[in-house]
């Protein structure tokens, strides 16, 4: 059974004239690393908000179709209940942080779920170290930079060790090396603990290599849904204005000029370099 499944899901925000997502049917299997991408305003964030019931419970509006997450109908279970299964990191960390210290912010979710003090301390320290902010644990999140706040938001979700982590452009404020390290941490958790990851990103240069499954949306609808390598090698994806990785584009340009290269479309620089080295042998 898929861990996330939507059937003909459509949603219209209150007072909006047209639906933000329209007739969306997707399946995410347990343990997958899924990338959701598409132009601004395509409905990516809206779709993610249905996974923990923020839509419809918090945003209201009109939701049609089915949404089952971790075996629960998200329409009939409140967000607090869904939050046990789904951890969310929002686009703007300012909207998510509220406690007076980093440590308290990260501990908040665990407190609500009634963990013992000892277990809480263990998990909070583990998450703070993974997110690289252990030394900042006594600082106030509101005095921190956007990048540091994003790390706090990520730590708060990691501490919960939910079955599913949904991240909406989680590293947009971080410098590239820090962003890469965070993606590595998330990928590692996905590989080692089998946590299902749903990542919303524009920057496929940085992230395509982690994902086994990609969903591309446009104007509220699903345009492509499938294996990352297969989807990104389709020419039709170029029409939507998705940021195809440079390595993938360069590979195509070489093929078009008649270069004899392996047929495995590369998703990152390492893969393309290997293909070229192979061809130069």
């Amino acid at each position: 059974m898929p861990i996330i499944e939507t059937k003909n899901l459509s949603y219209t925000y209150p007072s909006a004239s047209r639906p933000a997502i329209l007739d969306v049917s997707i399946k995410v299997e347990k343990g997958e690393f899924v990338l959701i991408t598409g132009p601004s305003g395509c409905g990516k964030t809206t779709l993610c908000r249905t996974f923990n019931g923020l839509i419809p419970h918090f945003y209201q509006g009109e939701l049609k179709g089915e949404i089952i997450v971790a075996g629960k109908d998200a329409k009939n279970h409140p967000t607090v209940e869904m939050a046990e299964h789904v951890g969310m990191v929002f686009q703007n960390p300012e909207n998510q942080l509220f406690a007076l210290s980093v440590e308290k912010d990260v501990a908040f979710g665990l407190e609500n779920l009634g963990f013992s003090r000892e277990e809480m301390r263990k998990r909070v320290n583990w998450a703070l170290k993974l997110a690289g902010i252990y030394d900042l644990r006594e600082r106030s999140p509101h005095e921190m930079s956007g990048g540091q706040q994003q790390r706090v938001a990520i730590a708060a979700v990691l501490a919960m060790q939910p079955e599913i982590i949904v991240l909406d452009e989680p590293t947009s404020f971080l410098d590239p090396l820090s962003a890469e390290k965070i993606f590595e941490v998330i990928y590692d958790l996905n590989q080692k603990l089998g946590i299902t990851v749903v990542l919303v990103e524009h920057r496929l240069d940085l992230t395509a290599k982690y994902a086994d499954h990609i969903i591309i949306m446009d104007e509220g609808k699903i345009c492509f849904d499938g294996n990352t390598r297969e989807v990104l090698s389709k020419q039709e994806t170029r029409l939507i204005g998705v940021g195809i990785p440079k390595a993938t584009l360069l590979y195509e340009m070489l093929k078009k000029e008649g270069a004899r290269l392996s047929n495995k479309t590369p998703l990152c620089s390492r893969e393309l370099a290997d293909i070229i080295q192979e061809a130069l042998k």
């Binding site: 410098d175 090396l177 990785p245 584009l249």
Partner: protein, 277 residues
Amino acid sequence: MLVVEDVQFTYPSGVEALKGVSLTVKDGEFVAIMGQNGAGKTTLVKHFNGLLKPTRGSVRVNNVDTSKSSVATLARHVGFVFQNPDHQLFCETVDDEIAFALKNFGYEQCIIEKRITWAVNLLGLSQYRKTSPFMLSGGERKRVALASVLAWDPQILVLDEPTIGQDHRQKENLRQFIMQLQTQGKTIVIVTHDVEFVAECNPRVVLMREGKILADGQGKQILTNPTLLEQASIVLPQIAQIFKHLTTQGFPVNIIDIYEAKNLLMEKLEERKHECL
């Protein structure tokens, strides 16, 4: 012209954010300031319109010392678009937002109207003129902030993280837009982490680290130097990464342009093909 001389800046909290920075930006230049979180990039550019005044050293904009001038006066020359548009927008409609500064500068109503029309068309916001900026998406709000600054036509434009939250197509629009402004002789300074965007534009790059300038040069040179980039917590652009992996094959190392990359690789692949025949 923008002249920064040995600027040191300490925040009231005691944090020393700039530790002696010198930099000259000539009219019509396009400069990207890059570096790790907390390196002092935003602190530096906030000196360009007098939002911050140096603790030591000096900043001169078109020969005016920012310590002896107000933000309101400097703003005529230096337009500033913040990282987070919500820190900048406050009016009821997009029209009002763009008109605000123009009214303050004392422009006549008919000119204000023309400038608004020009700015909303330029940034694809014409359908939102009567909409509240807060009803718009993050990417759209960023464009409103940019429109409101462009409308008063400053010589120097400072954009703090302009590509955050922008999709591929919007980034391409932004790139073309910056090129267009450059042909009009505008000076453009961007603060960014977006290596792919910078690689595509190939501007002058100023790398910062811990309140100092680490390196200053053409994008193509700086963005292909792994040692420098690592110190600034930046990764190589993807094209440069490919050539780094291929150094043993005797390729040049300073490649960031995809077309140049294609030509070099094709050449080598053809050569190899002939060797085999």
